[in-house]
């Protein structure tokens, strides 16, 4: 570590030996309005998803009036192409979209976390093989791959979750690997090893707790990608036909010719929800990630979705 970096770190109140700051996460979340707004948006939608089954009774797809009826007092967001209440559909869609988002993010966090930890901790040949595989998958364009796999494997919600999860693990693996590699070299880990701690103990007791916050931050970001990806798959007619998600509502608006009927109320709301959640979880996840690891270096091939503050050295090859 150069003297300049050490000086800068000391000025920011970072303990150079461990790279940790006191109350870092709290500071990241409450210190920045951006993170706070992001959290507020995500929490709002999660609340809607959790509370909705207690408030919303009956089938949201039920026909309650003429098709594409404009918004009125009874139906605040009007009716869709099947004569169902848009607001109810939107609330029902929140559940499915968030479920897909969180479940798929969990899948890729598990795979990416596992690959990253194994690769970073064991190094050597394990690392080479795992990172090679990761690199190949990073280059193959995710959206076409997702579409092809979805087309081949049938249209259930579980499949969609698995497909998204299995395709998005690569950047997580790279991120976690970098973090594990730096943690592994820290003094206390070396000391634990010298005292005779086995690999498993080292991973679970010393590495995992250090990597976990970053993994969680990354998972929050993945939720955004997954929700986004679901709208994509569903729009191409590959979604689960039995459930309502935001992606499905956008697709319905398109296939039911909401445009010819000038029914903006059937088109605009679901997209606004997707945009808000994606923006919200990105704002939150990114502030968290930045705070936890300001000098993150991710392979430049992982430029997949935006970063509000491009990582330093992002375009440098590793």
């Amino acid at each position: 570590v150069s003297a300049a970096v050490q000086g800068a770190a000391a000025a920011e109140g970072v303990d150079v030996s461990t790279g940790r700051r006191p109350g870092l996460v709290r500071q990241a979340v409450f210190g920045e309005p951006q993170a706070l707004i992001g959290i507020a948006i995500v929490v709002m939608f999660v609340l809607i998803a959790v509370v909705s089954p207690f408030v919303l009774h009956g089938d949201p797809k039920a026909k309650v009036g003429p098709i594409f009826q404009p918004p009125s007092i009874d139906h605040l967001l009007g009716l869709d192409g099947g004569g169902a209440d848009m607001l109810r559909l939107l609330i029902a869609g929140t559940r499915v979209s968030l479920l897909v988002g969180f479940a798929a993010a969990l899948v890729s966090a598990l795979i990416g976390g596992l690959v990253g930890i194994l690769s970073g901790f064991y190094g050597g040949r394990t690392d080479t093989v795992l990172m090679r595989i990761t690199d190949y998958f990073l280059v193959i364009p995710d959206i076409p791959l997702m579409i092809v796999v979805a087309a081949l494997f049938g249209r259930s919600l579980t499949n969609i979750i698995l497909i998204i999860g299995v395709i998005y693990w690569t950047s997580t693996a790279r991120l976690i690997r970098a973090q594990v590699k730096s943690v592994r070299e820290r003094v206390y880990v070396k000391r634990a090893r010298a005292l005779g701690a086995g690999n498993r103990r080292l991973i679970f007791k010393h590495i995992l707790p250090q990597v976990m916050p970053l993994l969680i931050a990354n998972t929050v970001l993945l939720v955004a990608y997954a929700i986004f990806a679901e709208t994509f798959i569903t729009f191409l007619g590959l979604g689960d036909p039995s459930v309502i998600s935001w992606g499905r509502l956008i697709e319905n608006a398109f296939t039911d010719d909401a445009i010819l009927n000038d029914a903006w109320w059937a088109i605009v709301p679901p997209g606004v929800c997707v945009t808000l959640v994606v923006l919200g979880s990105t704002m939150f996840g990114q502030s968290l990630e930045d705070a936890l690891n300001p000098r993150l270096k991710v392979g430049h091939l992982s430029v997949r979705r935006f970063r509000m503050r491009p990582l330093r050295g992002q375009l440098d090859a590793e």
Binding site: I140, P141, P144, T231, I259, L279, R309, A317
Partner: protein, 324 residues
């Protein structure tokens, strides 16, 4: 010869990735998906026709044999035949590709122009209201599903600008006498603008962020300070000394984001019924025409791998400090 090493490494990586993609393609379509022919959605197809198709595809042989045939066919540029039109897949891919390329190019051009403008404004007015709103507008567009933004375009913009919302050419064009080249060109452009604009809007946020941060970096350099001290106007400083250097990362970023550009253009083409690769993919999915889907996927994957290679090499050229 470190430079040579680097170039050779990147090319080798690209070649291996191509092979991985080809194999992945085979595994996905031939072993995991079951039988392509029985999946075909085709009402008029008789049993005999399907048997014949199976034989044509070599589905009666072992997987390993199939893989070898598949590789040798591919080496000869044979991607198989479309199950519904019987035409070679390469022939099916070519016309849509010719339609997609100018549209994607125009969209990328829009995104670079918007991105550079937004990035420069943001960096120049750093920390102000103008900075924040410019950046957030870009990020909001970036968070929108492209198909949804396309629908909004049709709904709110097409009417106002009097632009067509579907297809690639006006069906009445050329009915009354031959249309001139200029008329055909204008007609094509009119059909291309909305899909390209959608693509440009969805993409520019990412470029804006990168231009902004690299502008901020260059504006802090000594030579920019010197330029200011010499009494150069703000505008000249930003353009001549700031932007030129800040543009370097953009070049590689454009190549790198090709994967996302391609993904986005699939649904955008669907919304605008623009007869490109994206629409071909949608139709192939709809009719379960696996050879076409497979061919399109390979084409898209290859172009992304190629773009990545170009990005790596360009970046090396621009910044020889890159090593591995």
């Amino acid at each position: 010869m470190r430079g040579f090493d680097y170039v050779a490494k990147r090319i080798a990586f690209a070649l291996v990735t191509v092979f991985v993609a080809i194999t992945l393609n085979f595994v996905l379509f031939r072993t995991l998906s079951g039988d392509a022919v029985s999946a075909l959605r085709c009402r008029q197809c008789t049993k005999e026709f399907k048997e014949y198709q199976r034989e044509q595809l070599g589905l009666d042989q072992s997987k390993w044999e199939q893989y070898k045939i598949y590789l040798s066919d591919l080496a000869h540029g044979d991607l198989g035949r479309s199950l519904r039109s019987e035409a070679p897949v390469t022939q099916e891919l070519w016309p849509p590709l010719k339609n997609t390329m100018p549209m994607v190019a125009l969209g990328t051009l829009f995104s670079i122009v918007f991105g550079v403008l937004a990035g420069v404004i943001s960096a120049w007015r750093r920390g102000t209201w103008a900075d924040k709103s410019t950046l957030w507008t870009g990020l909001s567009f970036y968070s929108m599903p492209p198909q949804w933004l396309g629908l909004l375009m049709v709904l709110f913009v097409a009417g106002a600008l009097g632009l067509p919302t579907a297809g690639i050419k006006d069906p009445t064009l050329g009915i009354l006498g031959d249309a001139s080249t200029w008329e055909v060109f204008v007609d094509r452009m009119r059909h291309m603008i909305l899909p390209a604009l959608t693509l440009g809007l969805v993409l520019y946020g990412e470029y804006a962020i990168v231009v902004r941060s690299s502008m901020l970096e260059t504006l802090g350099e000594d030579y920019v300070l010197t330029a200011r001290a010499k009494g150069l106007s703000n505008w000249a400083t930003v353009w001549k000394h700031g932007l030129r250097n800040a543009l370097l990362p953009i070049i590689t970023l454009v190549a790198l984001s090709l994967g996302f550009i391609i993904g986005g253009s699939i649904t955008i083409e669907y919304v605008f019924s623009y007869p490109g690769i994206g629409l071909l993919v949608v139709e192939a999915i709809d009719q379960r025409d696996y050879p076409v889907l497979q061919g399109a996927f390979l084409l898209l994957t290859f172009s992304v791998i190629f773009a990545n290679l170009i990005a790596d090499l360009l970046y090396f050229k621009l910044d020889p400090r890159v090593s591995t």
